[in-house]
Amino acid sequence: MNLKVSTPTKVVKPSRRTFIDFIREQPLGFIGLIMIITMFFAAIFAPEVAPYNPEDVDFEASPALGGGQPSWEHPLGADAFGRDILSRLIYGARTALSIGFFSAMLGCTLGAIIGTTSAYFGGKVDLIIQRLIDLMLSFPIVILAIVVIAIFPKTVVVGIDINVIIAIAIPFTPKVARVIRSQALTIVTLPYIDAAKAAGYSSSRIIFRHILPNVSAPFLIMLTAFIGQAILLEASLSFLGLGVVEPTPSWGLMLSGVNSDYYRTAAWMIIYPGLAVSIAVFSFNLLGDSLRDWLDPKLKL
């Protein structure tokens, strides 16, 4: 049977957009992407890009002795030990980006899965998961991270500290789970979920194929927001001696500790690392926002 129901109009192919369209439609997102790529490159090729070794000490350039102002020699100045800040920022991007990105990604993904599962099953499952989340939310982030670090043995893979990533990811999980659950609750009631149930699809299929893709908007927003938080949290952990340890360069470490004592006499010591964190977070936010719009099929015209 072939019903003739609609007039054969010209077949207009819906345009599936290319990367060029992304640049044209989301210029801000593209800028964010370029900045992120630049940072990643700088981090990967740090030995080639950085003017100094980040651990080289040059006491003459130390602000404690009145030196270290930004100059041709040290474009962004030098820190209390006379180490070149630009070089330390470039090397620090390694820790910042890896820990920031991976821990936010891990935390948000776990949170999204827990949140959608909780919303999908509802009832007792929801109740128990939500009370566990309440429990986790009642601890300050840092305390929770310390506990995790204490439990897991230190593991370093390709120069990335895995247990710091886990320690930072776990406190994010309950927060993301809460937000994603509320979004998923509205999706669970929609007919297409009922249709999937009526078609006999398994619960995991419904969660992963039908609900999760539809909560990507809050997911991306939280992901980009938590990247910034993760970088700062890494700093706190480092300050407590639990994360990255001196003299390894890390943006967080550069912002804290002895460096912050110089905010009056040598402000560059905290301004530039602060700027680095802000720019990184800003770029991820730009990219995240435009990805959210870009990936929403309803906004495609």
Partner: protein, 684 residues
């Protein structure tokens, strides 16, 4: 500039719109939502504007008061004379003088058009205080007066209640009261009853008509329901693709429709008052995209009598036969003569008939679906209440049969469907499908054979999956076809089967129209080759011409594949057209069951009679001579159903026994069962 200072030049015509156009300037396109329309409305006239969704009927009404977003909507007109004054160039602050005071609006959604944090009293008195400068006390008295005028009981007490304490019908009455507050000259009602049940719809429309007659208020009613138009309107404007294509008195339009579109529209609605004559007439295709409208007659692409001439735009000219009717078609005369034959009406295909002696594919016995809800009764205490959404319902469906399930919202018809599908696990009762007694576990065995189509084509498809992926998924999950190439072939087959094009497989749902999406929903159900499809209001969100296409499709599929349907709907005419057997539900209980013919021609239960009475028929002749018994009141709370017969609180035949006895479903004839203690009396 005050209205009274301007000389009134024609006192008879209240609103004279000439060459009104509205263009929406979007980011990368401009859409002409209203294209050069002109119409007049006299004082006290009841004008209906009909058309399918997206044809510009709401926009044209909103543009009169410039209630459109000013940055993107460009409103142009030669003149827009309201009560002798040209208001086309008025600024927003000038218009505020007449908004709500002389022209008031009633919107479609009574649920959202009232502010939930203000009391009803506040909202009715607001226009009185701002426009008429009444004091709070005067306003309150007037509000009470208005509320009793629109039939809200105990207005003094209800004045201090909030919108959530009102039902949908009552809220719409409040909206009308607000609209009437300043004694306007014109009320614009934008689909005022679309969200309401038939019995409530009849109450509201009677009220509106009565008020317009008594107070001499002109009404512009925007609607897509042709029955409503025939019953209440004096004059009708038919709109299509941003233009008025036909206008005339409601008699002209319904008796002698002259435009092929109007003819098609009238022919594509199933009739409540007539038995099925064959397949529904359908208009091919979809309305044109207004971003890029066709240059000639806008209907040309879908018109069955298209000719070369139609590539030029026809003007709205006087209709030859009727005095005040106008039509925009080159071939009006021809259309009139051939009207009866247009749209392939000779296809008098019979409904496929199920084998009465076959064993039923689905038997439902004593199905109960109760929901426990907790109600707060004090600060710290709560008591639990029980909503009996479905209470002791039994029926069966034969292979290849369509069983219609009708009733007003809240009667439990959707819950019946959901419990059969085990989307909600039934509280009690026995559901037997293909000789398998179903429960939570055995449902998995029959998932494939029992499918569902939902009402809302917008939310029943996952927006993040392409159509192809949606249709392929069940084939993968149920391991129906294991290799990719044959799966894609099957997807194409399914698309063709439901009348879609194969290239649509890589579209996303939002790229399709509502009707096309509903077809995808049907294709998804068909993918699993089911024996039974539960159709939960499958056409109620669609336009009439599309509705007819979908109904015909469902019938064709039944004839070809022998599928059974449980067709849940509130539209009695559609149910009459498609069903073999009809079940009428009220408050969780079955009121009447019968084959289609006897139910509609000899309804026995007072509720069925009232339902049939309330639904308007698209024929002004019949409507004029019809005497309605309109049901009073509203559906009682399901938390606290009346004792005895659940319908007793609204029944026109009520006597004391009704509150004592719960009537069983008794046999009236072999195929006709009624649940009313008085049925025997009616017959005697």
């Amino acid at each position: 500039m005050s209205v009274s200072k301007i000389k009134k030049y024609n006192n008879d015509v209240l609103l004279d719109v000439l060459n009104l156009s509205v263009t929406f300037e979007l980011k990368n396109a401009s859409v002409k939502a209203v294209d050069n329309i002109s119409f007049k409305i006299k004082r006290g006239e009841f004008l209906a504007v009909v058309g399918e969704s997206g044809c510009g009927k709401s926009v044209s009404a909103l543009s009169i008061l410039k209630l459109l977003p000013p940055k993107i909507a460009k409103i142009e007109s030669t003149h827009l004379i309201f009560d002798g004054v040209d208001i086309s160039n008025w600024t927003t602050s000038q218009l505020r003088e007449i908004r709500g005071k002389r022209i008031s609006m009633i919107f479609q959604e009574p649920m959202t058009s009232l502010n939930p944090v203000l009391t009803i009293g506040d909202q009715i008195t607001e226009p009185l205080i701002t426009h008429l400068k009444l004091t709070a006390n005067e306003a309150q008295n007037r509000a009470i007066e208005l509320m009793s005028m629109v039939g809200i009981p105990e207005p003094e007490n209800r004045l201090n209640q909030y919108p959530h304490q009102f039902s949908g019908g009552m809220r719409q009455r409040v909206m009308i009261a607000i609209g009437l507050a300043c004694e306007p000259d014109l009320i614009i009602a934008d689909e005022p009853t679309t969200a309401l049940d038939v019995t409530i719809q009849a109450q509201i429309l009677e009220l509106l008509k009565d008020i317009s007659k008594r107070l001499g208020i002109a009404v512009i009613m925007i609607t897509h329901n042709l029955g409503v138009v025939a019953a209440y309107a004096d004059n009708v404007n038919v709109m299509y693709a941003a233009c008025i294509i036909e206008t005339g008195s409601s008699n002209d339009i319904f008796k002698n429709p002259s435009h092929p579109y109007t003819i098609g529209l009238l022919r594509s609605v199933p009739r409540l008052d007539k038995s099925r004559e064959g397949k529904l007439a359908t208009i091919y295709g979809l309305p044109p995209n207004l971003m890029n409208p066709p240059s000639g007659c806008r209907f040309a692409e879908r018109c069955p009598i298209y000719e070369k001439q139609c590539d030029n735009s026809p003007a709205l000219i006087d209709n030859v036969t009727s005095k005040n009717a106008k039509v925009a078609c080159w071939k009006t005369d021809f259309a009139k003569v051939t009207g009866a034959k247009m749209y392939a009406s000779n296809k008098k295909t019979k409904k496929s008939v199920p084998d009465v002696n076959a064993t039923p594919i689905l038997t439902v016995n004593n199905l109960k679906q109760h929901f426990n809800i907790s109600l707060r009764s004090g600060w710290f205490t709560s008591k639990s209440g029980k909503v009996k959404a479905v209470d002791d319902v039994s029926f069966s469906i034969l292979p290849g049969e369509t069983v219609g399930l009708v009733g007003e919202s809240g009667c439990g018809k959707t819950s019946v469907g959901r419990s059969i599908l085990h989307l909600n696990n039934p509280t009690n009762g026995d559901i037997n499908f293909q000789n398998i007694s179903m429960n939570k576990d055995s449902i998995a065995l029959v998932r494939r054979d029992m499918q569902v189509i939902f009402q809302d084509p917008f939310s029943s498809l996952n927006p993040r999956m392409t159509i192809g992926k949606i249709l392929e998924e069940p084939l993968i999950v149920h391991k129906i076809i294991n290799d990719k190439a044959s799966r894609l072939k099957r997807v194409n087959e399914l698309l063709e089967q439901v009348g879609l094009y194969t290239y649509m497989a890589d579209r996303y749902p939002h790229e399709l129209s509502g009707g096309q999406r509903q077809r995808v929903g049907i294709a998804r159900a068909l993918a699993m080759e089911p024996k039974l499809i539960i159709c939960d209001e499958p056409v109620s969100a669609l336009d009439v011409s599309v509705q007819a296409q979908i109904i015909n499709l469902l019938e064709d599929l039944q004839a070809e594949l022998g599928i059974s349907y449980l067709f849940i709907a509130h539209d009695l005419a559609v149910v009459r057209h498609i069903s073999h057997k009809v079940i009428v539900m009220y408050l969780g209980k079955i009121m009447e069951v019968a084959d289609e013919k006897s139910l509609y021609s000899k309804p026995q239960h007072p509720y069925t009679k009232a339902l049939l009475d309330a639904a308007p028929v698209p024929d002004p002749e019949i409507e004029k001579n019809r005497k309605r018994t309109i049901l009073k009141g509203e559906l009682p709370s399901p938390l606290n159903p009346p004792p005895g017969c659940v319908f007793s609180t609204r029944c026109p035949e009520y006597t004391k026994e009704c509150s004592k006895l719960t009537p069983p479903l008794v046999k009236f004839t072999d195929e006709h069962f009624v649940s009313c203690i008085k049925v025997k009396e009616f017959n005697a």
